[in-house]
């Protein structure tokens, strides 16, 4: 279990934590990269949106693995959010029309195999990301 303060520097520690878990589980490098990207984006969203205007926020990350997948659970106490309600990202229009930002959840959806979200009964959010190894 990794405990992080909700600060801009924290996603890098989250990535390093996931990398260690992937190495222990023997996950291939490409799958590990995708999972790190998803965890980075999830943490960045929690920091930017979940804890916006609040100090002292925390993020807890846990990793579990079986023979062919790694499961990362991210728990925060920030504002509740519902990933299913987020609009689809624009990834096709030309450079003039392409909006700045709004790609974080798109990258999460693209880079993991399963996403489970539930609001935490104690307040906050519990997000589970599953990546299956390609080995």
């Amino acid at each position: 279990m990794l405990h992080l303060d909700a600060r801009a520097e924290s996603p890098a520690a989250g990535r390093a934590f996931v990398e260690q878990a992937c190495r222990r589980a023997g996950v291939d490098a490409a799958s590990c990269f995708d999972l790190k990207l998803a965890v980075d984006e999830a943490c960045a969203n929690i920091i930017a949106h979940g804890y916006r205007g609040r100090s002292g926020g925390s993020i807890r990350i846990a990793c579990a693995s079986d023979e062919d997948s790694v499961r990362v659970t991210i728990v925060d106490r920030g504002r509740a959010f519902a990933p299913a309600d987020l609009p689809a990202a624009d990834v096709t229009s030309d450079w003039k029309e392409r909006p700045l930002g709004g790609l974080g959840w798109h990258l999460i959806r693209q880079s993991v195999d399963e996403i489970d979200y539930e609001p935490d009964p104690a307040g906050g959010n519990r997000l589970t990301l599953v990546k299956r190894s390609r080995k």
Binding site: E9, P11, L37, D94, K96, G104, L107
Partner: protein
Amino acid sequence: MTEIRTEVVDRGHVTVLRVVGSVDGATAPALVAAFRGAVAEGRIRIVGDFSGVDYTSSAGLRALLETVKETRQRGGDLRLASVQPDVRRVLDLAGFTGILKLYGDVEEAVASFPETPA
């Protein structure tokens, strides 16, 4: 803690911005500042040398798209050279390879800009 370093190299009519490090929410502001600084100096034909960039999150994509818009609106462009496979993966996932011009190395990217821009 991750950091990035940026270095501007003048190549005549083209500016090469060499970037080294991992680009995420913590480090992207330094990349944004470097790109904005170059554009503010009138450097609108920019090659981003990404040979030393091992990672980018959406924060880096935002910096790239902002610079593409700023340079192209002024008649220039931002083009990337030596993009590493992991970073290329993020560009692909985000649909950025359809709007950004990528080159195998810096020389090729510099040569892609005409000597006498319109």
